[in-house]
Amino acid sequence: MAVLTVLTVIGGNAYSRQLVQGLAVTGMTDQVSWGAYIANFTYLVGVAAAAVMLVIPAYIYRNKDMHDVVLFGELLAIAAIVMALLFVVVDLGRPDRFWHLIPVIGKFNFPGSMLSWDVIVLNGYLLLNLHICGYLLFMKYMDRKPTILFYMPFVLVAIAWAVSIHTVTAFLYVGLVGRPFWNSAIVAPRFLGSAFTAGPGILIIVFQIIRRMSTYQISDRALHILRNIVTVSLLVNLFLLGCEAFKEFYSESVHSSSAKYLFFGLHGHDALVPWMWGAMAMEFAAATILIIPPLAQRISLLNAACVLAIVGIWIEKGMGLIVPGFVPTPLGNIVEYVPSLNEALVCVGIWSFGLLIFSWMLHVSIPIMSGEFRHQSKEV
């Protein structure tokens, strides 16, 4: 916690510097006008959406094992959305004009702009999850049985909503005719495939930490259900990536240059090539471990596979999707992008802050869930 706090403060300091000197302290340029901030934002929206993969078995199929852990998935979604929103805020040139986005007071371009859709779905998803988690935790704390009418309708809405947050985020990019690399119908399904891999992957790791650090019982079966979800999603994600690669490279149209830049380099510029192949190697290694049952059943190898998938997808969805959309530019100019130190510190700060909120929420909710912390005590 102390380390996270320190990192958050360093990130906050870096952001203040950016506020004073402008976005010039980042590595972004007119040519590559979105970078690490938007890449992290995209990844985190996926992590948030992934909570749905626990919600469906827990609430719809009434799976007992998932029921015990679904709340932690929803808390992770809350932390991820908060981080995603922060990444958007730090990317704004004029955060002081944030109020222009508020309907009526400001001027909200709805339904024209996909970004205004994104504002609605992200904040809506945050509220839904806050309500569901808050209500269920409060009832548990009061030792009362939750009334199904007060949470079930919200759960059902949240399921569709989770898909929508990542779809709308994908449509932010898909809708741009001038960027052929993004202007592809497969982007939203790919987003969901990668999200449902990375999100449950993170939860597998988190649940083992919870098991070790607290007395709360998380069954092996819950981990195994998550492992199956990660496996299927990762295979789907790799399949879709293959579909995209086929379309780009077999047809070899002029619109393939961004993909060429990403995988092989273009006119001697190849900053992303090792990253992308690294990401692919990680995802393939993770997939190999996961599809061979004797390997995947060993918890240490499962963890390794999850870490590989989490990092691999972070690279693929971040640098591998956002940056090549800008390289080459619509007029054929090649400018490469490397995040600056200040930009990296802001990113670290936001991640630390998000993990801080997440661990704080776990600190409060685990004693409630295990029944150690109840209303009877005098101090409330």
């Binding site: 706090t5 958050t8 403060v9 360093i10 906050g12 300091n13 952001y15 203040s16 510097r17 506020l19 004073v20 000197q21 402008g22 976005l23 010039a24 980042t26 340029t29 007119d30 006008s33 979105w34 958007v88 990317d91 704004l92 040139g93 004029r94 955060p95 002081d96 004009r97 222009h100 400001g106 001027k107 909200f108 371009n109 702009s113 996909m114 970004l115 504002v119 932010l172 990019y173 809708g175 741009l176 005719v177 001038g178 002029v254 240059s257 959309g325 080459p328 619509p330 007029l331 054929g332 100019n333 802050f353 600190h363 409060v364 004693p367 912390f373 005590s377 005098k378 101090e379 409330v380």
Partner: protein, 314 residues
């Protein structure tokens, strides 16, 4: 950012109380120290955003009185920050006018005088120099911009076997940039010019990602222009000095063209490659060209329907 406390209930045992008191104290100190650490760079700010500027409404919602106050405030801000006395006006579109621009690629020789004039006229930041017009050096026999060179540097232009393709804002009839703006900070005026309210833009740069012509630029930091180089004739929606953190673009020099002058890039062009005028006027030169030359537009497949046309004069 404070350390979480009070998550465990329990009896009020004095040692526990003392410990939680100490914890709270350390927590508060840490929080104060954090706040100081986070905000340290903010102390070096000299010209913050005034309350009036912060609360300023969208251009289209301003009353004439309010707009007038704002124009005066902006003039004062330029005087304060750049030491230059300037006039900022709000110049409205003329009735019955839709501007069009045509460029004769047979005549353009890539001398880039238009680029220089544009920077001067429109008060673009000089460090790093921002330019609205990009002149692409193209190999003969190709229309593929990816084969172009933006940074050509010859003793003499035109270079053998090359032709030149200047690209600036195409003032599209179906602009992708205005559609994506989440706060309607950019829109197309009745005379066909797409403008930005620099005091309403939130700097998300979505419009830059949307533009197929790379026509938009962002103010990554405070604009730097020597006072003696500032063009004092400024329009609210065009060439006034843009604040940090907002997007800007070519406006066909609307502060000139809406008063019957030519855009700076056309006026300066030594080869006469540029033709500008009212497309609704049957007698205008632009109309003659659209009717009689074989005109084409850039990236027609993007469906943006530009008001900027190219032609070869042979």
């Amino acid at each position: 950012m404070n350390a979480p406390r009070g998550t465990q209930g329990g009896a009020l045992d004095p040692t526990l109380q003392r410990r939680s008191f100490l914890k709270a104290g350390v927590g508060t100190m840490a929080a104060l120290a954090s706040l100081a650490g986070i905000s340290a760079p903010l102390r070096s700010v000299n010209s913050g955003v005034s309350l009036d500027a912060f609360l300023q409404q969208h251009y289209k919602r301003l009353t004439p009185d309010l707009l007038d106050q704002i124009l005066r405030r902006i003039e004062n801000e330029v005087a304060r920050d750049y030491g230059a006395k300037v006039t900022v006006r709000d110049i409205r579109p003329m009735d019955g006018v839709e501007f069009g621009y045509a460029l004769n690629l047979s005549r353009c020789n890539g001398n880039r005088k238009c680029v220089e004039a544009c920077v001067q006229e429109n008060n673009q930041t000089r460090d790093p120099q921002m330019q609205y017009i990009r002149v692409l050096e193209m190999p003969a026999g190709s229309l593929d911009v990816e084969k172009s060179d933006l940074y050509y540097d010859h003793e003499q232009v035109p270079a053998k076997g090359k032709y030149y393709l200047p690209v600036q804002c195409q003032q599209c009839q179906n602009p992708p940039c205005t559609k994506v703006c989440p706060v309607e900070a950019t829109w197309t005026e009745p005379d066909g010019i797409t403008v930005i309210d620099y005091n309403w833009c939130i700097g998300c740069r979505y419009c830059m990602a949307a533009c197929p012509y790379e026509a938009r630029r962002f103010n990554w930091k405070q604009a730097e222009i020597p006072p003696e180089e500032i063009n004092p004739n400024m329009g609210y929606l065009s060439n006034r000095i843009r604040p940090m953190g907002v997007v800007e673009k070519c406006t066909y020099c609307l502060h000139r063209t809406r008063e019957g002058q030519y855009p700076a890039c056309m006026e300066v062009c030594p080869t006469g490659a540029r033709v500008f005028g009212n497309m609704l006027d049957p007698d205008s030169e632009i109309n003659y060209i659209l009717k009689n030359k074989r005109v084409y537009i850039l990236k027609e497949d993007a469906g943006t329907a530009p008001r900027f046309f190219y032609y070869f004069d042979v």
